[in-house]
């Protein structure tokens, strides 16, 4: 292209610099690469790693984070954030435990209702009242936690083990064996289905593309006639519903509704989403990479547990948030080159 580019064009061209773009691509492949490498490392180093028990446990536990991260991905892609999901998991698990005697369907309906309720409030406050997402969801974090404590009278509630609700904690048997494995936890099945749906929505529906557009340039999206508020509202509802589902699964897995669980889960989700390659400032990202992020982080803690077991190092659970923070730091510094020129003058910090 002949000619000298004007200063505005200069900036665009710089962004377009394929080096920068390939850096982002590298980051996304990077997470996957690291995951594969760590799996190899772990299977070689720890005897107990490749057992069905360990893998199932790893997957089941992280399926909860996976569901939350899925919702968080959509929220972050619109340029927002949802800090209430951790408390919502707790709230939902309490509700699930309470309603469990009434059977699976009713319990799921109740949890869905809770998720919808919280999501609607979040979405409405953020999309229409224009209260910054950080404040809204942080306030909801408090409120949901409070509600969870109230409903459970500050104690954990035992799930009715005779109810068919507990099927959620079971395995789903194939009826045949794949590689010696005959069944996988239902939680994992749900996770896979959720992500499949999520990926299809993102890549093959108008809504999915509009989510990215809103996060990429809200003003332009509005001028192009997109229903910006409705899109923002919807992603928060999605996030809350998924969190509620995770709460139900948690109750089934631990046989308890725990009002004190879920603390900090939103931060894990955020870290996973960002580590996977989705831009924290919105507008660009992928659903499947969040799954990679979740597995990667989960795997790291799994490895740390094994190392602890070996007695060579002693990493307490307190290090978890530090490690997550460190990952986040590395990633946002890498991402900062991309987001640098997108900042607008006069934009409020929240």
């Amino acid at each position: 292209m002949a000619g000298i580019v004007s200063s505005k064009g200069e900036r665009s061209a710089w962004l377009a610099n394929s080096f920068v773009r390939s850096r982002l691509l590298m980051q996304r492949q990077g997470a996957l690469l690291m995951l594969v490498l760590l799996i190899l490392f772990a299977s070689l180093r720890y005897d107990g790693f490749l057992t069905a028990f360990n893998i199932f446990h790893l997957l089941s536990y992280n399926s909860l984070f996976g569901l939350i991260a899925l919702g968080m991905t959509f929220v972050i892609m619109t340029g927002g954030i949802d800090l209430s999901v951790g408390s919502l998991v707790a709230l939902s698990s309490v509700v699930a435990a309470r309603v469990s005697p009434h059977g699976l369907l009713l319990t799921l309906a109740a949890c869905l209702g809770v998720g919808l309720g919280v999501g609607i409030i979040n979405g409405w406050a953020i999309a229409w009242l224009k209260i910054p997402p950080f404040i809204t969801t942080l306030a909801m974090l408090l409120a949901a936690r409070g509600l969870a404590l109230l409903l459970s009278n500050n104690a954990s509630i035992v799930v009715d083990t005779t109810s068919d609700f507990n099927v959620l904690a079971n395995n789903f048997t194939f009826g045949f064996d794949i590689l010696g494995i005959g069944a996988i936890p239902i939680a994992v099945v749900i996770l896979i289905i959720a992500y499949a749906v999520g990926a299809i929505v993102l890549n093959f529906t108008r809504f999915g593309r509009h989510v990215l557009a809103v996060g990429g340039n809200e003003e332009a999206a509005r001028l192009m006639g997109l229903p910006v508020e409705r899109i923002q509202f919807t992603v928060y509802v999605m996030s809350s519903v998924l969190a509620a589902l995770a709460g139900a699964l948690l109750a089934a897995q631990t046989f308890n509704g725990l009002p004190t669980e879920g603390v900090g889960w939103e931060l894990t989700a955020i870290a996973a989403v960002v580590v996977g390659g989705t831009l924290l400032s919105g507008g660009m990202g992928s659903v499947l990479t969040s799954l990679v992020g979740v597995l990667l982080l989960g795997l790291i803690f799994n490895i740390l547990n094994f190392e602890n077991g070996r007695g060579l190092i002693s990493i307490t659970s307190f290090w978890q948030s530090v490690i997550r923070g460190a990952f986040l730091l590395v990633v946002i510094i890498l991402q900062s080159r991309l987001t640098r020129t997108r900042g607008k003058v006069g934009q409020t910090p929240l």
Partner: protein, 340 residues
């Protein structure tokens, strides 16, 4: 220098300290009004409200706890005035609170001297908190990361760091002079309240009369223009995050002193939300360029008083939290409405 023959009329001097300027804006009248209403309500319906005994008896939520929040919120006011935000303050409070006992309870040679031990027990945590603030500052200025994202790192990792430092232990220290910071009194006024007042007065004075204060408001008001006018905007922003860190650390120390114990999992929990809420209620706009330091104090008082009122009416803490959250949302919503 330009021709300075023209002498300034005296009236310009008097304008500086007018109270109406302090209370400018309908929002401030609303806040003061609500504050007064709540105080009256409590005077009437809460026994022993005005005596210090009554105040300190309230479980978990007592009016004196406004001091730490107000101190953090003052730092937050400055950060928000530059157009930024600091989500890490809660975690920094925890870190300072975790480091302090390690220093003044230490049996190392110099530190076991009570005077040195306690002095270092104050200085070292503040220094560390300030360094973390500088870390935030660097992320924001050198790496040009949005403040909300930059401070998210310590928001996530900071409390963990505090827990690692204290090894998850709750450090208890009855009988050490350190607790005077929390429960001591000078002229029958609690030390923490004095500290709070000193901090606020100093910060308000800095904003109003110093060059740094001008630089701060200019940077928040229009960073590009400030840069072109020769203002070291990056330095200003880094400094502001350091101040925020140090003040958060100070607040953490006070909390730890009040409780005579340091629990890294609880010190400063939700501190950032409280601080942001106080600033919002106090009238400092999130877009930057203005710093209503005294307004923030009013905001902190109001929020704390609401909490206190709810608890003394035997409303369970979780519910009080919910109502608090709703109020914060409401106030921020109002602020957006006014500014738009």
């Amino acid at each position: 220098m330009a021709n300075l023959n023209h002498v300034a009329p005296q009236q310009h001097m008097l304008r500086r300290f007018s109270l109406p300027r302090l209370l400018r804006g309908g929002q401030t009248y609303g806040v003061v009004g609500t504050l007064v209403a709540l105080i009256v309500y409590n005077l009437v319906s809460t026994p022993r409200f005005l005596t210090f005994d009554g105040l300190t008896e309230a479980v978990n939520v007592n009016l004196l706890q406004v001091a730490p929040i107000a101190i953090v919120a003052t730092g937050m006011t400055l950060v928000i005035a530059t157009g930024g935000i600091d989500l890490s303050v809660g975690s920094l409070m925890a870190i300072a609170g975790a480091v302090a006992p390690l220093v003044f309870l230490s049996t190392l040679p110099l530190l076991s001297n009570p005077f040195i031990g306690i002095t270092m027990g104050i200085i070292v945590p503040l220094l560390i908190a300030g360094l973390f603030g500088l870390f935030n500052g660097f992320l924001v200025t050198t790496f040009r990361i949005q403040p909300i994202i930059a401070t998210l790192v310590l928001f996530i990792a900071g409390r963990g760091i505090a827990q690692v430092i204290s090894n998850g232990n709750i450090q208890v220290f009855r009988g050490s002079n350190f607790v005077l910071l929390g429960s001591g009194r000078i002229l029958n006024i609690p030390v923490q309240v004095l500290v709070m007042l000193i901090v606020i007065i100093v910060v308000a004075w800095v904003v109003r009369t110093t060059t740094f204060g001008r630089y701060l408001l200019a940077t928040g008001g229009n960073e590009a223009a400030s840069r072109l006018a020769g203002i070291p905007t990056d330095r200003v922003k880094r400094t502001v995050y350091v101040i925020s860190g140090v003040l958060a650390g100070l607040a953490g120390l006070i909390i730890v002193a009040i409780n005579s114990s340091s629990d890294a999992s609880n010190v400063g929990l939700n501190g950032e939300l409280d601080a942001i809420a106080a600033v919002a209620v106090g009238g400092t706009p999130f877009t930057g360029g203005q710093a209503r330091v005294w307004g923030t104090l009013l905001g902190a008082l109001l929020i704390q008083l609401i909490r206190f009122t709810l608890v003394t009416k035997d409303i369970p803490l979780p519910v009080a939290q919910i109502i608090n959250a709703a109020i914060i949302l409401f106030v921020v919503y109002l602020q957006r409405e006014r500014k738009s």
